[in-house]
Protein backbone atom coordinates (compact mmCIF):
# COMPACT_ATOMS: atom_id res chain seq x y z
CA UNK A 1 0.00 0.00 0.00
CA UNK A 2 2.79 2.40 0.94
CA UNK A 3 4.59 1.62 -2.29
CA UNK A 4 1.49 2.35 -4.32
CA UNK A 5 1.06 5.74 -2.72
CA UNK A 6 4.65 6.56 -3.49
CA UNK A 7 4.26 5.53 -7.13
CA UNK A 8 1.10 7.57 -7.45
CA UNK A 9 2.71 10.62 -5.89
CA UNK A 10 5.73 10.37 -8.12
CA UNK A 11 3.62 9.86 -11.20
CA UNK A 12 1.43 12.85 -10.47
CA UNK A 13 4.46 15.02 -9.70
CA UNK A 14 6.15 14.00 -12.93
CA UNK A 15 2.98 14.66 -14.90
CA UNK A 16 2.56 18.08 -13.32
CA UNK A 17 6.16 18.94 -14.12
CA UNK A 18 5.85 18.00 -17.76
CA UNK A 19 2.51 19.70 -18.12
CA UNK A 20 4.00 22.91 -16.76
CA UNK A 21 7.00 22.59 -19.03
CA UNK A 22 4.85 21.97 -22.08
CA UNK A 23 2.63 24.91 -21.34
CA UNK A 24 5.66 27.13 -21.14
CA UNK A 25 7.07 25.72 -24.31
CA UNK A 26 4.15 25.85 -26.66
CA UNK A 27 4.05 29.48 -27.66
CA UNK A 28 7.73 29.30 -28.53
CA UNK A 29 7.18 26.33 -30.79
CA UNK A 30 4.08 27.69 -32.41
CA UNK A 31 4.44 31.38 -32.86
CA UNK A 32 7.80 32.93 -32.17
CA UNK A 33 7.42 33.20 -28.40
CA UNK A 34 8.18 36.62 -27.01
CA UNK A 35 8.54 38.06 -30.49
CA UNK A 36 4.91 37.60 -31.40
CA UNK A 37 3.04 38.55 -28.28
CA UNK A 38 2.77 42.32 -28.61
CA UNK A 39 1.08 43.22 -31.89
CA UNK A 40 -0.27 39.84 -32.77
CA UNK A 41 -3.94 40.42 -33.27
CA UNK A 42 -5.28 41.22 -36.69
CA UNK A 43 -7.01 44.54 -37.20
CA UNK A 44 -9.51 45.68 -39.83
CA UNK A 45 -9.25 44.18 -43.30
CA UNK A 46 -9.46 46.19 -46.50
CA UNK A 47 -12.99 46.68 -47.86
CA UNK A 48 -13.44 45.00 -51.21
CA UNK A 49 -16.60 44.90 -53.29
CA UNK A 50 -17.04 41.75 -55.33
CA UNK A 51 -17.28 42.55 -59.05
CA UNK A 52 -20.56 41.56 -60.65
CA UNK A 53 -21.18 39.50 -63.76
CA UNK A 54 -17.70 38.09 -64.02
CA UNK A 55 -17.10 35.15 -66.29
CA UNK A 56 -13.74 33.58 -66.99
CA UNK A 57 -14.35 31.66 -70.19
CA UNK A 58 -12.56 28.34 -70.32
CA UNK A 59 -11.44 28.29 -66.68
CA UNK A 60 -12.35 25.05 -64.96
CA UNK A 61 -11.18 26.39 -61.62
CA UNK A 62 -13.45 29.42 -61.90
CA UNK A 63 -16.47 27.36 -62.98
CA UNK A 64 -16.06 25.05 -59.97
CA UNK A 65 -15.58 27.96 -57.55
CA UNK A 66 -18.63 29.75 -58.97
CA UNK A 67 -20.83 26.67 -58.41
CA UNK A 68 -19.39 26.26 -54.93
CA UNK A 69 -20.00 29.94 -54.22
CA UNK A 70 -16.57 30.72 -52.83
CA UNK A 71 -12.87 30.30 -53.48
CA UNK A 72 -10.44 27.99 -51.69
CA UNK A 73 -7.13 29.76 -51.29
CA UNK A 74 -3.82 28.36 -50.07
CA UNK A 75 -1.99 30.70 -47.67
CA UNK A 76 0.57 30.81 -44.91
CA UNK A 77 -0.44 31.53 -41.35
CA UNK A 78 2.78 32.31 -39.51
CA UNK A 79 4.16 35.30 -41.36
CA UNK A 80 3.27 38.52 -39.55
CA UNK A 81 1.97 41.25 -41.88
CA UNK A 82 2.09 38.85 -44.85
CA UNK A 83 0.03 35.73 -44.25
CA UNK A 84 -0.97 35.61 -40.61
CA UNK A 85 -3.60 34.01 -38.43
CA UNK A 86 -4.03 35.58 -35.00
CA UNK A 87 -5.08 33.91 -31.75
CA UNK A 88 -8.76 34.56 -32.54
CA UNK A 89 -8.42 32.85 -35.91
CA UNK A 90 -8.59 36.10 -37.91
CA UNK A 91 -6.31 36.35 -40.90
CA UNK A 92 -4.45 39.42 -42.10
CA UNK A 93 -1.41 40.62 -43.97
CA UNK A 94 -0.41 41.66 -47.47
CA UNK A 95 -0.78 38.19 -49.02
CA UNK A 96 -4.21 37.77 -47.43
CA UNK A 97 -5.31 41.13 -48.87
CA UNK A 98 -4.03 40.11 -52.31
CA UNK A 99 -5.97 36.84 -52.02
CA UNK A 100 -9.11 38.81 -51.09
CA UNK A 101 -8.55 41.32 -53.89
CA UNK A 102 -8.35 38.51 -56.46
CA UNK A 103 -11.50 36.91 -55.04
CA UNK A 104 -13.36 40.22 -55.33
CA UNK A 105 -12.06 40.65 -58.87
CA UNK A 106 -13.40 37.21 -59.76
CA UNK A 107 -16.82 38.28 -58.48
CA UNK A 108 -16.78 36.05 -55.39
CA UNK A 109 -17.24 37.43 -51.88
CA UNK A 110 -13.77 37.76 -50.29
CA UNK A 111 -15.27 37.24 -46.83
CA UNK A 112 -16.35 33.75 -47.90
CA UNK A 113 -12.88 32.56 -48.93
CA UNK A 114 -11.99 29.21 -47.44
CA UNK A 115 -8.33 29.42 -46.42
CA UNK A 116 -6.06 26.41 -46.34
CA UNK A 117 -2.66 26.54 -44.74
CA UNK A 118 -0.36 24.77 -47.16
CA UNK A 119 3.30 24.35 -46.16
CA UNK A 120 5.81 25.37 -48.82
CA UNK A 121 6.77 21.78 -49.62
CA UNK A 122 3.16 20.85 -50.50
CA UNK A 123 2.27 23.82 -52.67
CA UNK A 124 2.69 22.20 -56.09
CA UNK A 125 0.80 19.09 -55.03
CA UNK A 126 -2.08 21.11 -53.55
CA UNK A 127 -2.45 23.23 -56.70
CA UNK A 128 -2.07 20.34 -59.15
CA UNK A 129 -4.45 18.16 -57.13
CA UNK A 130 -7.17 20.81 -57.11
CA UNK A 131 -7.09 21.05 -53.31
CA UNK A 132 -6.93 24.84 -53.63
CA UNK A 133 -7.97 27.25 -56.39
CA UNK A 134 -4.91 29.46 -56.08
CA UNK A 135 -2.04 30.09 -53.69
CA UNK A 136 -0.88 33.42 -52.26
CA UNK A 137 2.00 32.98 -49.82
CA UNK A 138 5.47 34.36 -50.58
CA UNK A 139 5.63 32.01 -53.55
CA UNK A 140 8.68 32.84 -55.67
CA UNK A 141 8.31 32.49 -59.43
CA UNK A 142 11.07 30.20 -60.72
CA UNK A 143 11.53 28.50 -64.11
CA UNK A 144 11.48 25.04 -62.58
CA UNK A 145 8.22 25.73 -60.75
CA UNK A 146 6.67 27.15 -63.91
CA UNK A 147 6.71 23.58 -65.26
CA UNK A 148 4.30 22.49 -62.52
CA UNK A 149 2.31 25.59 -61.67
CA UNK A 150 0.99 28.63 -63.52
CA UNK A 151 2.04 31.97 -62.05
CA UNK A 152 0.13 35.24 -62.23
CA UNK A 153 2.14 38.28 -61.20
CA UNK A 154 4.60 39.07 -59.78
CA UNK A 155 2.64 41.14 -57.32
CA UNK A 156 5.64 41.88 -55.09
CA UNK A 157 9.42 41.82 -55.33
CA UNK A 158 11.44 40.83 -52.28
CA UNK A 159 15.11 40.07 -51.67
CA UNK A 160 17.00 37.79 -49.30
CA UNK A 161 18.21 39.62 -46.21
CA UNK A 162 19.20 39.01 -42.58
CA UNK A 163 17.27 39.43 -39.35
CA UNK A 164 19.53 39.93 -36.34
CA UNK A 165 19.29 40.99 -32.70
CA UNK A 166 18.95 44.75 -32.38
CA UNK A 167 22.21 45.25 -30.48
CA UNK A 168 24.27 43.13 -32.88
CA UNK A 169 26.23 45.23 -35.39
CA UNK A 170 28.59 42.44 -36.52
CA UNK A 171 26.56 41.63 -39.64
CA UNK A 172 25.82 45.16 -40.84
CA UNK A 173 27.81 44.49 -44.02
CA UNK A 174 25.26 41.90 -45.13
CA UNK A 175 25.97 38.43 -46.51
CA UNK A 176 29.77 38.80 -46.54
CA UNK A 177 29.74 39.15 -42.74
CA UNK A 178 28.04 35.78 -42.21
CA UNK A 179 31.24 33.68 -41.95
CA UNK A 180 31.42 32.06 -38.55
CA UNK A 181 27.87 33.10 -37.65
CA UNK A 182 25.02 30.74 -36.83
CA UNK A 183 22.33 31.10 -39.47
CA UNK A 184 18.76 29.81 -39.40
CA UNK A 185 16.09 29.46 -42.07
CA UNK A 186 13.20 27.20 -43.08
CA UNK A 187 14.00 23.55 -43.86
CA UNK A 188 15.20 23.12 -47.43
CA UNK A 189 14.26 26.68 -48.41
CA UNK A 190 15.90 28.58 -51.26
CA UNK A 191 17.50 31.13 -48.88
CA UNK A 192 19.28 28.43 -46.88
CA UNK A 193 20.35 26.67 -50.09
CA UNK A 194 21.87 29.94 -51.27
CA UNK A 195 23.80 30.17 -47.99
CA UNK A 196 25.08 26.63 -48.59
CA UNK A 197 25.87 27.11 -52.30
CA UNK A 198 27.74 30.36 -51.79
CA UNK A 199 29.34 29.01 -48.58
CA UNK A 200 28.39 32.13 -46.69
CA UNK A 201 28.96 30.27 -43.43
CA UNK A 202 30.18 26.84 -42.32
CA UNK A 203 27.81 23.87 -42.74
CA UNK A 204 27.85 23.21 -38.99
CA UNK A 205 26.53 26.73 -38.34
CA UNK A 206 23.34 26.18 -40.34
CA UNK A 207 20.04 25.46 -38.59
CA UNK A 208 16.83 24.61 -40.44
CA UNK A 209 13.41 24.65 -38.77
CA UNK A 210 9.94 24.07 -40.12
CA UNK A 211 8.87 27.69 -39.72
CA UNK A 212 10.58 31.06 -39.52
CA UNK A 213 8.87 31.66 -36.17
CA UNK A 214 10.96 28.84 -34.73
CA UNK A 215 14.11 30.45 -36.12
CA UNK A 216 13.11 33.79 -34.60
CA UNK A 217 12.61 32.04 -31.25
CA UNK A 218 16.13 30.58 -31.53
CA UNK A 219 17.47 34.03 -32.47
CA UNK A 220 15.95 35.59 -29.37
CA UNK A 221 17.36 32.75 -27.23
CA UNK A 222 20.81 33.40 -28.77
CA UNK A 223 21.00 29.88 -30.19
CA UNK A 224 21.51 31.42 -33.65
CA UNK A 225 22.87 34.81 -34.75
CA UNK A 226 20.83 35.52 -37.85
CA UNK A 227 17.63 34.41 -39.55
CA UNK A 228 17.76 34.65 -43.31
CA UNK A 229 14.95 34.74 -45.87
CA UNK A 230 13.12 37.33 -47.96
CA UNK A 231 13.13 40.81 -46.45
CA UNK A 232 9.33 40.98 -46.68
CA UNK A 233 9.05 38.12 -44.17
CA UNK A 234 11.82 39.47 -41.94
CA UNK A 235 10.33 42.96 -41.80
CA UNK A 236 7.10 41.40 -40.62
CA UNK A 237 8.92 39.83 -37.65
CA UNK A 238 11.01 42.93 -36.93
CA UNK A 239 7.76 44.91 -36.73
CA UNK A 240 6.45 42.58 -34.00
CA UNK A 241 9.52 43.08 -31.76
CA UNK A 242 11.16 46.37 -32.83
CA UNK A 243 13.09 46.65 -29.54
CA UNK A 244 14.77 43.28 -29.93
CA UNK A 245 15.14 42.68 -33.65
CA UNK A 246 16.22 44.49 -36.80
CA UNK A 247 16.63 43.74 -40.50
CA UNK A 248 20.14 44.38 -41.81
CA UNK A 249 18.82 45.93 -45.05
CA UNK A 250 21.34 44.63 -47.61
CA UNK A 251 19.24 42.32 -49.80
CA UNK A 252 21.27 39.87 -51.90
CA UNK A 253 18.73 38.27 -54.23
CA UNK A 254 15.55 39.03 -56.15
CA UNK A 255 12.42 37.04 -55.34
CA UNK A 256 9.36 37.67 -57.45
CA UNK A 257 6.22 36.62 -55.61
CA UNK A 258 3.52 35.17 -57.84
CA UNK A 259 0.02 33.80 -57.38
CA UNK A 260 0.10 30.05 -58.06
CA UNK A 261 -2.75 28.73 -60.22
CA UNK A 262 -3.26 25.33 -61.90
CA UNK A 263 -0.77 24.95 -64.76
CA UNK A 264 -3.37 24.25 -67.45
CA UNK A 265 -5.71 27.08 -66.44
CA UNK A 266 -4.33 29.88 -68.62
CA UNK A 267 -7.72 31.64 -68.60
CA UNK A 268 -7.57 32.03 -64.82
CA UNK A 269 -3.96 33.16 -64.92
CA UNK A 270 -4.77 35.88 -67.48
CA UNK A 271 -7.76 37.02 -65.44
CA UNK A 272 -5.72 37.25 -62.23
CA UNK A 273 -3.05 39.21 -64.13
CA UNK A 274 -5.66 41.71 -65.27
CA UNK A 275 -6.97 42.04 -61.68
CA UNK A 276 -3.41 42.80 -60.52
CA UNK A 277 -2.99 45.29 -63.36
CA UNK A 278 -6.14 47.15 -62.35
CA UNK A 279 -5.10 47.22 -58.69
CA UNK A 280 -1.78 48.79 -59.64
CA UNK A 281 -3.39 51.56 -61.64
CA UNK A 282 -6.36 52.37 -59.37
CA UNK A 283 -4.27 52.59 -56.19
CA UNK A 284 -5.66 49.46 -54.48
CA UNK A 285 -2.25 47.77 -54.44
CA UNK A 286 -0.67 50.78 -52.75
CA UNK A 287 -3.52 50.99 -50.24
CA UNK A 288 -3.22 47.38 -49.07
CA UNK A 289 0.59 47.61 -49.00
CA UNK A 290 0.44 50.66 -46.74
CA UNK A 291 -2.04 48.90 -44.43
CA UNK A 292 0.25 45.88 -44.00
CA UNK A 293 3.95 45.65 -44.94
CA UNK A 294 4.18 49.42 -45.32
CA UNK A 295 3.86 49.67 -41.53
CA UNK A 296 7.50 48.58 -41.30
CA UNK A 297 8.44 52.01 -42.69
CA UNK A 298 9.68 50.93 -46.12
CA UNK A 299 7.91 52.13 -49.24
CA UNK A 300 7.13 50.04 -52.30
CA UNK A 301 5.46 50.16 -55.70
CA UNK A 302 3.69 47.47 -57.74
CA UNK A 303 6.18 45.57 -59.92
CA UNK A 304 5.66 45.11 -63.69
CA UNK A 305 3.72 41.95 -64.55
CA UNK A 306 5.26 38.97 -66.31
CA UNK A 307 2.70 37.70 -68.76
CA UNK A 308 3.62 34.44 -70.36
Amino acid sequence: MRMRTLVATFGVAALALTAAACGKDEPAAGGGGDAGAASDSCGELHKFTAASGVDVAGSQTFTKAKTRGNLIVGVKADQPNLGYKDADGKRCGFDIEVARMVSAGLGLDPDKIEYKEIPSANRETAIAGGEIDYYVGTYSITDKRKKQVGFAGPYFIAGQDLLVRKDDTSMDAGKTALKGKKVCSATGSTPIQRVKDEQLTEASNISEFKTYSECVSQLLDKKVDAVTTDDAILKGYAATAPDELKVVGKPFSTEKYGIGVPLADKALRDKVNSILETSASDGTWKAIYDETLGKSGSDSTPPPLEKY
Binding site: R2, S120, A121, K210
Partner: protein, 215 residues
Protein backbone atom coordinates in the same frame (compact mmCIF):
# COMPACT_ATOMS: atom_id res chain seq x y z
CA UNK B 1 10.67 8.94 -62.53
CA UNK B 2 14.36 8.08 -62.17
CA UNK B 3 15.57 11.58 -62.97
CA UNK B 4 13.95 12.88 -59.76
CA UNK B 5 16.29 10.57 -57.86
CA UNK B 6 19.40 10.81 -60.03
CA UNK B 7 19.31 14.60 -60.49
CA UNK B 8 19.13 15.09 -56.72
CA UNK B 9 21.18 12.11 -55.62
CA UNK B 10 23.36 13.98 -53.03
CA UNK B 11 20.20 15.22 -51.31
CA UNK B 12 18.75 11.70 -51.00
CA UNK B 13 22.11 10.15 -50.07
CA UNK B 14 22.88 12.69 -47.32
CA UNK B 15 19.30 12.64 -46.04
CA UNK B 16 19.09 8.87 -45.73
CA UNK B 17 22.60 8.58 -44.32
CA UNK B 18 21.61 10.97 -41.55
CA UNK B 19 18.40 8.98 -41.01
CA UNK B 20 20.45 5.81 -40.60
CA UNK B 21 22.84 7.43 -38.11
CA UNK B 22 19.97 8.98 -36.18
CA UNK B 23 18.21 5.59 -36.06
CA UNK B 24 21.28 3.59 -35.01
CA UNK B 25 22.45 5.98 -32.29
CA UNK B 26 19.01 6.53 -30.76
CA UNK B 27 18.17 2.84 -31.25
CA UNK B 28 21.15 1.70 -29.17
CA UNK B 29 20.58 4.39 -26.55
CA UNK B 30 16.84 3.62 -26.22
CA UNK B 31 17.57 -0.09 -25.93
CA UNK B 32 19.99 0.61 -23.07
CA UNK B 33 17.83 3.20 -21.31
CA UNK B 34 14.64 1.19 -21.91
CA UNK B 35 16.16 -1.99 -20.48
CA UNK B 36 17.43 -0.12 -17.41
CA UNK B 37 13.96 1.36 -16.90
CA UNK B 38 12.41 -2.08 -17.41
CA UNK B 39 14.74 -3.45 -14.74
CA UNK B 40 13.70 -0.58 -12.47
CA UNK B 41 10.05 -1.52 -12.91
CA UNK B 42 10.58 -5.13 -11.81
CA UNK B 43 13.15 -4.35 -9.11
CA UNK B 44 12.44 -4.98 -5.41
CA UNK B 45 13.23 -1.34 -4.49
CA UNK B 46 10.06 0.82 -4.38
CA UNK B 47 11.90 4.07 -5.29
CA UNK B 48 13.31 2.55 -8.49
CA UNK B 49 9.91 1.10 -9.38
CA UNK B 50 8.43 4.56 -8.89
CA UNK B 51 10.99 6.15 -11.22
CA UNK B 52 10.31 3.54 -13.91
CA UNK B 53 6.53 3.86 -13.60
CA UNK B 54 6.68 7.65 -13.52
CA UNK B 55 8.85 7.77 -16.63
CA UNK B 56 6.67 5.41 -18.65
CA UNK B 57 3.39 7.01 -17.61
CA UNK B 58 4.69 10.48 -18.40
CA UNK B 59 6.43 9.88 -21.69
CA UNK B 60 4.64 6.97 -23.33
CA UNK B 61 2.82 8.42 -26.35
CA UNK B 62 3.49 12.03 -25.41
CA UNK B 63 3.46 13.45 -28.95
CA UNK B 64 6.99 13.16 -30.28
CA UNK B 65 6.82 16.64 -31.77
CA UNK B 66 6.19 17.98 -28.28
CA UNK B 67 9.26 16.18 -26.93
CA UNK B 68 11.30 17.66 -29.78
CA UNK B 69 9.84 21.13 -29.31
CA UNK B 70 10.55 20.94 -25.59
CA UNK B 71 14.20 19.99 -26.09
CA UNK B 72 14.74 22.57 -28.85
CA UNK B 73 12.84 25.56 -27.52
CA UNK B 74 11.95 24.94 -23.86
CA UNK B 75 15.36 23.62 -22.86
CA UNK B 76 17.03 26.51 -24.69
CA UNK B 77 15.20 28.97 -22.47
CA UNK B 78 16.32 27.06 -19.35
CA UNK B 79 19.98 26.85 -20.47
CA UNK B 80 19.66 23.07 -20.71
CA UNK B 81 20.28 22.73 -24.43
CA UNK B 82 22.21 19.78 -25.86
CA UNK B 83 25.38 20.52 -27.89
CA UNK B 84 23.93 20.43 -31.41
CA UNK B 85 20.74 19.60 -33.33
CA UNK B 86 21.83 16.02 -34.08
CA UNK B 87 22.30 15.14 -30.42
CA UNK B 88 19.18 17.04 -29.42
CA UNK B 89 17.31 14.95 -31.99
CA UNK B 90 18.89 11.76 -30.63
CA UNK B 91 17.85 12.88 -27.15
CA UNK B 92 14.22 13.39 -28.15
CA UNK B 93 13.96 10.07 -30.01
CA UNK B 94 15.65 8.20 -27.16
CA UNK B 95 13.45 9.71 -24.46
CA UNK B 96 10.36 8.84 -26.47
CA UNK B 97 11.35 5.33 -27.59
CA UNK B 98 12.75 4.20 -24.19
CA UNK B 99 9.27 4.25 -22.68
CA UNK B 100 8.11 1.68 -25.24
CA UNK B 101 11.27 -0.42 -24.90
CA UNK B 102 10.77 -0.39 -21.13
CA UNK B 103 7.26 -1.80 -21.40
CA UNK B 104 8.28 -4.41 -23.95
CA UNK B 105 11.12 -5.58 -21.68
CA UNK B 106 8.80 -5.65 -18.66
CA UNK B 107 6.19 -7.71 -20.47
CA UNK B 108 8.96 -10.07 -21.56
CA UNK B 109 10.11 -10.46 -17.96
CA UNK B 110 6.55 -11.31 -16.98
CA UNK B 111 6.56 -14.26 -19.40
CA UNK B 112 9.39 -15.94 -17.48
CA UNK B 113 7.99 -18.42 -14.96
CA UNK B 114 8.41 -17.15 -11.36
CA UNK B 115 10.03 -20.48 -10.46
CA UNK B 116 13.05 -19.49 -12.55
CA UNK B 117 13.95 -16.47 -10.49
CA UNK B 118 12.96 -18.18 -7.23
CA UNK B 119 15.40 -20.99 -8.05
CA UNK B 120 18.10 -18.48 -8.97
CA UNK B 121 17.60 -16.61 -5.70
CA UNK B 122 17.66 -19.91 -3.83
CA UNK B 123 21.19 -20.59 -5.09
CA UNK B 124 22.26 -17.19 -3.73
CA UNK B 125 22.21 -14.91 -6.81
CA UNK B 126 21.69 -11.18 -6.32
CA UNK B 127 18.81 -9.36 -8.04
CA UNK B 128 21.16 -8.09 -10.78
CA UNK B 129 22.45 -11.60 -11.39
CA UNK B 130 18.96 -13.10 -11.47
CA UNK B 131 17.93 -10.47 -14.01
CA UNK B 132 20.94 -10.54 -16.34
CA UNK B 133 21.84 -14.23 -16.19
CA UNK B 134 18.47 -15.95 -15.79
CA UNK B 135 15.47 -13.74 -16.56
CA UNK B 136 16.45 -11.31 -19.36
CA UNK B 137 17.93 -13.96 -21.68
CA UNK B 138 14.65 -15.90 -21.44
CA UNK B 139 12.55 -12.76 -21.69
CA UNK B 140 14.37 -11.82 -24.88
CA UNK B 141 12.65 -14.65 -26.76
CA UNK B 142 9.22 -13.17 -26.12
CA UNK B 143 10.14 -9.59 -26.88
CA UNK B 144 11.74 -9.92 -30.31
CA UNK B 145 8.59 -9.24 -32.39
CA UNK B 146 7.29 -6.29 -30.32
CA UNK B 147 10.80 -4.88 -30.02
CA UNK B 148 11.20 -4.99 -33.81
CA UNK B 149 7.95 -3.06 -34.12
CA UNK B 150 9.25 -0.45 -31.68
CA UNK B 151 12.42 -0.06 -33.76
CA UNK B 152 10.54 0.16 -37.05
CA UNK B 153 8.44 2.90 -35.43
CA UNK B 154 11.65 4.61 -34.31
CA UNK B 155 13.03 4.45 -37.85
CA UNK B 156 9.95 6.17 -39.23
CA UNK B 157 9.73 8.57 -36.29
CA UNK B 158 13.14 9.97 -37.22
CA UNK B 159 11.32 11.98 -39.91
CA UNK B 160 9.95 14.25 -37.17
CA UNK B 161 13.51 15.55 -36.74
CA UNK B 162 13.29 17.19 -40.18
CA UNK B 163 11.34 20.07 -38.66
CA UNK B 164 13.98 20.55 -35.99
CA UNK B 165 17.17 21.30 -37.83
CA UNK B 166 18.17 17.69 -38.42
CA UNK B 167 18.26 17.38 -42.19
CA UNK B 168 17.44 13.67 -42.49
CA UNK B 169 15.30 11.94 -45.11
CA UNK B 170 12.15 13.68 -43.86
CA UNK B 171 13.58 17.03 -44.91
CA UNK B 172 14.03 15.99 -48.54
CA UNK B 173 10.51 17.03 -49.70
CA UNK B 174 11.07 20.61 -48.50
CA UNK B 175 14.31 20.96 -50.45
CA UNK B 176 12.81 19.21 -53.49
CA UNK B 177 9.87 21.60 -53.52
CA UNK B 178 12.23 24.56 -53.60
CA UNK B 179 14.04 22.97 -56.53
CA UNK B 180 10.71 22.67 -58.31
CA UNK B 181 10.85 18.87 -58.43
CA UNK B 182 7.77 16.68 -58.56
CA UNK B 183 6.56 16.17 -54.98
CA UNK B 184 4.65 12.94 -55.56
CA UNK B 185 7.66 11.23 -57.12
CA UNK B 186 9.83 12.55 -54.29
CA UNK B 187 7.51 10.91 -51.77
CA UNK B 188 7.50 7.66 -53.76
CA UNK B 189 11.31 7.53 -53.60
CA UNK B 190 11.36 8.33 -49.91
CA UNK B 191 8.85 5.54 -49.27
CA UNK B 192 11.00 3.13 -51.26
CA UNK B 193 14.03 4.28 -49.24
CA UNK B 194 12.31 3.52 -45.94
CA UNK B 195 11.07 0.14 -47.19
CA UNK B 196 14.66 -0.72 -48.08
CA UNK B 197 15.80 0.29 -44.59
CA UNK B 198 13.12 -1.85 -42.95
CA UNK B 199 14.11 -5.04 -44.78
CA UNK B 200 17.30 -5.61 -42.70
CA UNK B 201 15.25 -5.15 -39.53
CA UNK B 202 12.81 -7.85 -40.65
CA UNK B 203 15.67 -10.23 -41.45
CA UNK B 204 17.30 -9.44 -38.13
CA UNK B 205 14.03 -10.29 -36.38
CA UNK B 206 13.74 -13.65 -38.23
CA UNK B 207 17.36 -14.48 -37.52
CA UNK B 208 17.01 -13.63 -33.83
CA UNK B 209 13.77 -15.59 -33.53
CA UNK B 210 15.38 -18.66 -35.03
CA UNK B 211 18.41 -18.32 -32.80
CA UNK B 212 16.52 -18.21 -29.54
CA UNK B 213 13.76 -20.60 -30.58
CA UNK B 214 13.09 -23.49 -28.22
CA UNK B 215 14.41 -26.49 -30.11
Amino acid sequence: MFSVLTDNWPLFRDGFWLTIRLFLVSGVLSLVLGTILGAFRVSPIPALRAIGTGYVNTLRNTPLTLVFAFLFFGAAKMQLALPNPFWTGVGALTIYTSAFVCEVVRSGVNTVAPGQSEAARAVGMTFAQVLTIVVLPQAFRAIIPPLTSVFIALLKNTTIAAGFSVAEAGSIPAAMSERGENQLLTLVWITIGFLILIVPLIFLQRWAERRVAVA
